[in-house]
Structures are given as C-alpha cells and as structure tokens.
C-alpha cells in the first residue's frame, strides 16, 4: 500500500493563548519564575545579614522601594494562584481521596487546603512579628527552647 501523504499543521508559538484552560496552565507554570526570583531576594537578604547591620539595613531599604513593593505584590498574586491551582489539581495527581466511601469533591479539597495554608502562614507571621495571642505564645515558648526562633 502506498504511503498516505498527510499534512502536519505546525503548532503555533502562541498556542497557549487560544484557550482559557491553556492560559491558566501557563500562568500556573509561570509562577515558578516568581518563586525563583523571590528566593533570590531572600538569599540576597541572608547574605546581607551575614555582612553586618549596615548591609542588612541597606537591603531592607531596598525592599521599601516602589519597584520592590510592586515585585512582591506580583509575586504574592502568583503565589496565591499557584496555591489555589495546586490544590485544584491535587485530586487528580494523588490517588482518589475518599471519605466514608464517597469521593471528596474538588471544591472541598481547595477550601480545606487553601484554608490550612492561610492558617499556617498567619501563624508564622504572627510568631515572627511577636503578636501571637498570649496562650499560643506560651505554648510555642514551651515547644521551642530559649535561643530558638522567636
């Protein structure tokens, strides 16, 4: 049998702009770039800290510039997008989650997952900022020995 001649349509470079599902996917993947840049900023701060108070204050002053604030706002938006979409795909990437024989709906996974992430973030922020409610602060002091974080 003669080989059938076919036509291969090339995949256009802007393929991902043609469907909202692809756009969301690309934004989720792009969030990795912002995580990377944010990690660099933190490393930079750590390095400044090791070089003494003047260097660290210089780094902190830089963080207060409009460009850095804008960067952090964008990075935070991507972090939020990544968190939500990560929990949205979790029921697909992990074995089926069942509760009492019934499959747990995606919405429940997202709400519980994002809620837990938010609670942990709030706790760490309050701990570092020293504004934990007294009872909780007491519990943390018992768990983390003096000289540890806080």
């Amino acid at each position: 049998m003669a080989e059938v001649r076919t036509y291969r349509r090339p995949m256009p470079a802007d393929w991902w702009t043609r469907n909202p599902s692809y756009v969301v996917y690309m934004l989720r993947e792009a969030s990795a770039v912002f995580f990377f840049l944010y990690a660099l900023v933190l490393l930079w701060g750590l390095n400044a800290l090791s070089q003494g108070e003047a260097a660290f204050d210089g780094w902190r002053a830089l963080l207060a510039t409009p460009a850095m604030i804008a960067f952090h706002a964008v990075a935070a938006a991507f972090a939020l997008l990544h968190t939500v979409t990560w929990f949205m795909v979790l029921p697909k990437t992990a074995p089926t989650l069942r509760l009492g024989g019934r499959i747990v709906p995606v919405a429940a996974v997202v709400v519980v997952g994002v809620g837990a992430s938010a609670a942990i973030s709030a706790f760490i922020y309050a701990w570092v900022a020293g504004i934990l409610p007294p009872g909780l602060a007491e519990a943390v002091r018992n768990l983390v020995p003096p000289g540890g974080a806080s």
Partner: protein
C-alpha cells in the same frame, strides 16, 4: 418547514493528491433544531459538495469516529448541535495535533500503535479453562476501573493535549487511561505487564498536568487522573516498591 434556518459552515479542506496545504471552504447550510454539526456536514455531502470527507458511524457518541475541532475546541460532531452555534459561522477542522489525511479526517495510525503498546486486553496470570465459567468480580472490583473502560478512542483528549502537540511520540491521555483501566482490573496481572509503557520517556512523565484532556472527554473518563496516578506507580516502581507488592 418553518423552523428551518441557515448557518454558514466553514470546513477545512485538504486533498493530499492536489493540495500543498489546507484551505477553508464555506457552505450555507439549512438546518432544523434537531440537527447536529455532523448532520450539517452530511447535508453538505448529500446536496452541496460530495467531495467533503469526514468520519462518522454511530451518530450517538458511542463509536468515537466523529471527533473534530468545532470553533477551535475538540468535540464529537454528532453530539454538538447547530442550534447552539447559531448564528455561526461554525468552523470545523480536523482534530488538532494530528496529521491531516483528507479534509476533516486525521491519520490515526500513530494512536493505534500506542494503543497496541499498552496491551489493551486482560493479561491473566494463568490460562483459565472454559469449564471454570465466568470470572466473577465484586461491584467494588468493577468500580475500580469502570470509569476508564468508558473510553471510546475518539481522540478528543489528544487534540486537547499540548504535550502531544509538541511531542507526537507521547503515548498520551487515552492510551494511558486504558493502560490504567487494565492495570486496575482484578482479572489482570496489573502494573508489571505495562510498566515499560508507563515508565518510558514518552510515557506518564511527559504529562505536565494541563488537565484539558479531562475537560473535553465526552465520556467522563478523566485521563489526567489516570496519567498522574501512574506517576505515583512509576515512582514506586523506580524505588522497587512495586516488586515488593508482587508487580501490581
């Protein structure tokens, strides 16, 4: 008939014997509210242009032959209705990411090879004589794979998969769903029979969790879940855990 309206259908045309590349051709098609896009194409073939080529068989979303891009999205043309696309125009093209054979018909050969590669049949540990009667399964055992057995090989999921578009060798959503279907079947040996297909470079790891395959599946198969559960299996296999579990 009073409820007959007219809609424009723009079809991609490609004749491998004469054309160097595809072009669009427009047809004005009268339709009634009960007509699908497939019936619109059949009207064109019967009354306007007998050379228009497209595949179909069952007309009821069972055979999986009639998949095509309708206004840029993969659909079964037999269950997509012209009334829902009015006033149009309706653009019909062959499924994305596949080589075009003629007009709306794609070349399925690559998929058929992949399907064969995942051994789409029950591989049992030992031959069962007929005298033993049917292999029985509990409702729970049936439930484990039932969803994946609903695949009709319509290939909409491949047209929805940019990874397949970028790498035509990717085994892809439907074949991997069927791999999962047989692995989950209590009558089958399971994982070890199809491990090579899943572990390959063009196997489950080629998937980057775009997830559009599961959105377009007309049968609710959820290929994305099948593929990604097998990333877990593939990782366990790499670590040697699958062997401890007897290859299941």
């Amino acid at each position: 008939m009073t409820d007959t309206r007219t809609i424009r259908i723009e079809a991609l045309r490609f004749n491998p014997e004469t054309d160097s590349e595809p072009r669009l051709q427009r047809y004005e098609v009268p339709f009634t509210p009960d007509m699908s896009v497939l019936q619109g194409l059949q009207y064109i073939k019967d009354h306007l242009d007998g050379s228009l080529t497209f595949r179909w068989s069952c007309r009821m979303a069972v055979c999986g032959s009639c998949g095509m891009m309708i206004n840029g999205r993969p659909h079964l043309s037999c269950e997509t209705f012209l009334r829902d696309l009015y006033p149009g125009p309706v653009r019909v093209e062959p499924l994305d990411h596949f080589p075009v054979q003629r007009d709306l018909a794609i070349d399925q050969a690559g998929f058929l090879d992949k399907l064969a590669a995942i051994k789409p049949y029950i591989v049992s540990a030992k031959e069962r004589p007929l005298s033993e009667g049917p292999s029985r399964q509990t409702p729970a055992q049936l439930d484990a794979y039932y969803q994946y057995s609903q695949c009709i090989n319509c290939l909409l999921c491949y047209a929805a998969c940019p990874q397949f578009g970028l790498n035509p060798d990717f085994i892809g959503p439907a074949a991997l769903s069927l791999l999962h279907r047989y692995n989950l079947d209590s009558r089958d040996i399971g994982w070890s029979v199809r491990a090579d297909a899943a572990n390959a470079d063009v196997g489950v790891w080629e998937c980057t969790v775009v997830g559009y395959c599961s959105e377009v599946c007309p049968k609710g198969v959820d290929p994305m879940h099948a593929v990604n559960e097998n990333k877990v299996n593939s990782a366990l296999d790499y670590l040697g855990v699958k062997r401890l579990l007897g290859g299941r």
